[in-house]
């Protein structure tokens, strides 16, 4: 048994099991929707302010009442959670650093190029984040999101929208739609697959 037991794989499986309810995808979708709103209005949309406050409260409420009574609850290993946050932070920092470094290493750079290349930078950020999450926790659908992200960015870059912002806005709206629909579909599948046990497991058992 001990030889066949792959602890890393079990760690990933525990994480996957805890995130099979689609809530993570819905949160990602709302984040993308907020970014689209930000690009559209040029003001900080109310969603972007409310999200950090009400997002975790909402997710906790749903999970406490619908997810955990069905499948139980496991807190992922701190090491793994810390590593994911740290790698994503470093990755975003490097991409942003490159965005600001490009003008200095290129001889014929002007501000309009910065503007033109922004879909590519957004795409690198989201695609990289999805690829890393897919690799780290072994959830296949994150690879599909990464592929869709590349397609979306290419579409935003090549399709002639009225303005570049409109292209980006459509990209984030599209991604938001995909994530939210996937999240709700996963949630309904989860509810159907894991019926609430008639005999509740409580501390009194």
């Amino acid at each position: 048994m001990i030889n066949k037991t792959n602890l890393k794989e079990m760690e990933k499986k525990a994480f996957r099991d805890s995130n099979q309810d689609g809530q993570m995808e819905i949160v990602f979708g709302v984040i993308f929707f907020s970014i689209a709103g930000y690009i559209h209005t040029k003001n900080l949309p109310i969603l972007l302010i409310l999200l950090p406050i009400f997002g975790p409260i909402w997710m906790q409420f749903i999970r406490n009442n619908l997810t955990y009574p069905r499948i139980g609850y496991a807190r992922p290993s701190k090491k793994m959670a810390r590593q994911i946050i740290w790698v994503l932070f470093i990755y975003m920092f490097i991409v942003l650093f490159m965005v600001f470094v490009f003008p200095f290493i290129s001889n014929d750079w002007d501000l309009s190029l910065w503007h033109n290349w922004s879909p590519v930078f957004y795409g690198i950020m989201t695609t990289g984040a999805f690829l890393y999450l897919g690799y780290k926790v072994g959830i296949m659908r994150y690879y599909i999101f990464a592929t869709l992200s590349v397609i979306g960015v290419l579409a935003a870059y090549f399709i002639e929208f009225e303005t570049l912002e409109r292209g980006l806005e459509m990209y984030f709206l599209g991604m938001s739609g995909v994530m939210v629909i996937t999240g709700f579909a996963l949630f309904f599948i989860f509810l159907r697959r894991h019926k609430l046990s008639k005999k509740e497991i409580t501390d009194d058992n």
Binding site: M10, E11, N64, I71, G72, A74, R75, K78, T202, D203
Partner: protein
């Protein structure tokens, strides 16, 4: 000089020194599943290990008495909620067990 015969007998002695509390299949199952998470509740452990509530409770008590597991009582809303967590001692014991078993199987002639 260590002869092949001496080495084999030392390997066998090595296997006899494994932690028997962990070596029991149901408890090993519990230890493995708790090792890969920070903490987990009873329902999660029952689903993952396939043990019944009573069986799981009995093994948990043994592991708790040995200091390998910590039982944390929390409240989720107004409901009491029990979380199970591997202690540092439990983590070390499991790593030691794993090392010994791996060593034993690696040294076993094929």
């Amino acid at each position: 000089m260590i002869t092949k015969k001496n080495k084999t007998s030392s390997d066998i002695q090595n296997i006899t020194s494994v932690d028997k509390l962990i070596h029991e299949p149901a408890r090993l199952n519990i230890m493995v599943h708790l090792y890969v998470v920070e903490s987990a509740d009873f329902l999660f452990m029952m689903r993952r290990t396939g043990l019944t509530f009573g069986n799981l409770s009995a093994h948990m008590s043994k592991l708790e008495n040995a200091g390998y597991i910590e039982i944390i009582k929390e409240f989720v809303g107004k409901k009491p909620h029990t979380m199970l967590k591997l202690t540092e001692q439990g983590r070390q014991a499991f790593e030691e067990y794993r090392k010994k078993m791996k060593q034993f199987f690696d040294d076993m002639p094929s």
